[in-house]
């Protein structure tokens, strides 16, 4: 349970309030293995600990990256750190995107806002093993063109013939030539074979709820829809109870759940 020390090797501002830290373990020889969709508890010394999904390539063991938005005390403090500063990391924790269980399927990745970060390792994994999957589609919604994460990388993905990328923004600006509208409006248009599709969804909870409804309407089986929850995770091991979500603990039984597992809870207001 003691955190490992990691040094910040680079810091990149993704949008006005979102940044990516690339971290390297201080202990020599320490390799960091994780599965796409898992998260770490990141400790900013003197401030506190916060759960953040890993956003780097799972094949890369010597460096990991985390993308986060400056919203709370800890993430704001994280945002002030510089190259060479040291963080504590516990992890990896939680369940992962079932990338190995959906071979020979169409993969539909639906991301909203910063929800693209926890999906990025799955994208890396799928593209590295591209021959195992049928169509691979990314539907990404951001607030404005300025809020689009990983812009250069998205452009690279768009240029691939084996990866279909659709981006939409809620508020278009005059220079924006792309799609305007919520991410759910992309689902009826997206070219995937519903019956043989697996969907990975990550974004604000409300967005995931509406996305799941659209995917089901489109014919995707509920068992084949996976979402990543975020609910007050504190300890990472299902001990403190902060993230209890009905009968499950998000930190230990999640963050990745099948839609079927949590569907009833998602629609309960009191939880």
């Amino acid at each position: 349970m003691l955190p490992h020390l990691f040094v910040i090797r680079s810091r990149k501002l993704e949008t006005s309030d979102t940044f990516t830290l690339e971290l390297e373990p201080i202990e020599s020889g320490l390799e960091f293995s994780f599965l796409p969709g898992q998260y770490n508890m990141i400790y900013v010394f003197g401030v506190g600990e916060v759960p953040i999904s890993i956003s780097s390539d799972p094949r890369r063991k010597n460096r990991i990256s985390h993308t986060t938005r400056m919203v709370g005390t800890v993430t704001k403090a994280m945002g002030m750190l510089k190259k060479g500063d040291v963080l504590g990391i516990r992890g990896p924790f939680g369940t992962s995107w079932p990338v190995d269980r959906c071979e020979n399927c169409d993969i539909v990745i639906v991301a909203g806002g910063i929800g693209l970060a926890p999906l990025r390792p799955a994208i890396y994994y799928i593209l590295a093993n591209r021959e195992r999957y049928n169509r691979v589609i990314l539907l990404y919604g951001a607030r404005t063109p300025e809020d689009i994460l990983y812009k250069q990388e998205i452009e690279k993905w768009k240029s691939r013939f084996d990866f279909e990328v659709y981006v939409t923004v809620d508020r278009g600006t005059s220079g924006w030539k792309g799609n305007v509208g919520v991410v759910t409006t992309l689902i009826p248009r997206a070219p995937f074979e519903s019956r043989n599709s697996v969907a990975f969804v990550c974004g604000p909870e409300v967005m995931m709820r509406f996305t799941a409804i659209e995917l089901v309407k489109r014919g995707v089986k509920e068992d084949n829809i996976f979402i990543s929850m975020e609910r007050n995770m504190k300890c990472g091991i299902g001990l403190c109870g902060h993230c209890q979500f009905g009968p499950v603990f998000v930190c230990k039984d999640g963050p990745v759940f099948s839609y079927n597992q949590v569907k009833d809870l998602l629609f309960k207001r009191e939880i």
């Binding site: 607030r143 939409t168 919520v182």
Partner: protein, 154 residues
């Protein structure tokens, strides 16, 4: 090589799926192909709405013009989508501008002609209203989610 006739395109379009043959014939009779270049307006706010459009390919943005500022894009519509329902709702004026973003081919359907036919045959009117109401409902839902400003920092 199969010829893409208006009849075939329209009969296979989800919006007109399972429509009675006589109604489909009527609609095909009201249809024409149109091509728009980027920057062109298909319609503008305040103009009389006497057509609706099925986008074959391209992209069209629905906008509101704001004096002294850039227009605000409300939504974009693409291949296969239906553009415009003001022709069926009195007083038949467009509420937004429809500006072409990419070269766009549409099938334009004569709403004035269809309105008259709907008055004469309420079964046709009810069929079309049901189909347009579904589109209006989808757009309303999307707008409501958009209003939540989901991705903004909480």
């Amino acid at each position: 090589m199969s010829v893409e006739t208006l009849e075939r395109i329209l009969s296979e379009h989800p919006f007109l799926k399972d429509l009675k043959e006589e109604y489909l014939d009527l609609i095909v009779g009201c249809a024409r192909n149109v091509f728009y270049k980027p920057g062109e307006f298909i319609f503008r706010e305040g103009e009389e709405a006497h057509e609706f459009y099925i986008i074959r390919d391209g992209r069209v943005s629905l906008e509101i013009s704001v004096p002294g500022k850039n227009p605000v894009v409300i939504q974009t519509l693409e291949d296969g989508e239906v553009l415009g329902w003001s022709w069926i709702v009195p007083p038949y004026y467009w509420h937004f501008d429809a500006r072409v973003v990419e070269p766009t081919r549409v099938i334009a359907l004569d709403g004035r002609c269809l309105r008259n036919k709907c008055e004469e045959d309420h079964n046709l009117g009810y069929e079309l209203l049901k189909r347009f109401l579904t589109i209006v409902e989808q757009r309303l839902q999307a707008t409501r989610i958009q209003l939540l400003d989901l991705y903004g920092a909480s």
